[in-house]
Amino acid sequence: MTPLRVSLLALTITLAASCAGRTEERSRAETAAVAFYEAVAQQDGIAACALLAPETQHEVETSAKQPCDEAITDEDLPDELGRVTETTVFGNEARVMADGDTVFVSDFDGFWRVVAAGCTTRGDVPYDCELKGG
């Protein structure tokens, strides 16, 4: 096999692996958003808070002045996430767009967690989010 063919094969394998990795990451980001909404819908505060990013969890507790698992079910979030229409991943960050909400999630050591939810677009400026860390 010539060096050119070896290079092309290596490039093809790398691109294929990269595409497969992207698909997997999209799926995991989407799963985190869906699981978070399911936990909130079931009033399972412990499960919902376990799916929040640390800063977001802290923000929930600080603003409500009570533990996250008690405060999270009182947040003014849409009733349901609905059908996911588009999930976009760049690096460790993702945006999950669904019929009922837009959720931002981030990868924490292989575990995707919700950074912001209940988000409404405002064009070129950051989304207006009911739940948000930092």
């Binding site: 990013a53 760049f90 690096g91 981030s106 990868d107 050591d109 950074v115 912001a116 989304y127």
Partner: protein, 224 residues
């Protein structure tokens, strides 16, 4: 062995310091990236994650493209443009593509000339441009890679700030892309321009990049 090392000292030296600098950049780049991650309340990344990230890729490729552009322009500009007194320039009356005889191609080639310089025709013409073609290809490849890595990095930051990501066509006309590009270009152009002018009046004994110490300021294209 020692003789081979000595005969290739210049390329080996730069190859080694390139790898050391790239390694150093990856270590401190990861530290800076993780500092930013902590500030934003995000998870830190491992060394492997960082060297395969868009953050590292864009920082590397934005410098590579400007270096290759610098040499591409230098190789081409010095064909037609001259600078009186600079050893970086040809003699004032030699501007242009030069004759086949001067370039030692086709029937003017020597016995030890490269085969592609001897054969004539399209192959010799292409060989006569091969350095520019390679430098140009490396420039456009690095610049293209910068645009893709830069897009991924920019969109990662957009998402981290709860903003919509942009498409490639939007990114390549965005301030982030051109800021990264032009900040590198201006430094390369300054360095080359400075070298051309400084070498008229200043010397480095023993360096082929300098005129001989005793050469007059007015002598052009004299390096030995």
């Amino acid at each position: 062995m020692m003789r081979r090392l000595k005969n290739n000292g210049l390329s080996l030296f730069f190859g080694v310091i390139f790898l050391l600098a790239l390694g150093g950049q990856s270590v401190v780049g990861r530290a800076a990236y993780n500092e930013e991650q902590r500030t934003q309340g995000r998870a830190e990344v491992t060394y492997t994650e960082y060297v395969t990230s868009s953050d590292f890729a864009v920082d590397v490729t934005e410098n590579w493209q400007s270096e290759y552009l610098q040499f591409l322009l230098y190789i081409l500009a010095t064909v037609w443009l001259v600078q009186r007194g600079s050893p970086e320039s040809k003699e004032l009356d030699q501007a242009g593509m030069e004759s086949d005889e001067h370039e030692k191609i086709a029937e003017y080639a020597n016995a030890d000339s490269p085969k592609l310089a001897r054969v004539g025709g399209l192959r010799t013409t292409l060989y006569g441009w091969s350095l520019t073609i390679l430098m140009g290809a490396l420039f456009f490849a690095s610049w293209g890679a910068q645009s893709i890595a830069g897009l991924a990095r920019y969109n990662e930051q957009q998402l981290a700030q709860q903003q919509d990501p942009v498409r490639w066509a939007e990114y390549v006309v965005a301030p982030d892309f051109w800021s990264r590009t032009l900040q590198n270009w201006q430094s390369e152009f300054l360095a080359v321009g400075s070298m051309v002018v400084f070498s008229i009046y200043l010397r480095q004994r023993g360096s082929p990049e300098s005129k001989p110490v005793g050469a007059p300021h007015s002598s052009t294209g004299v390096t030995d």
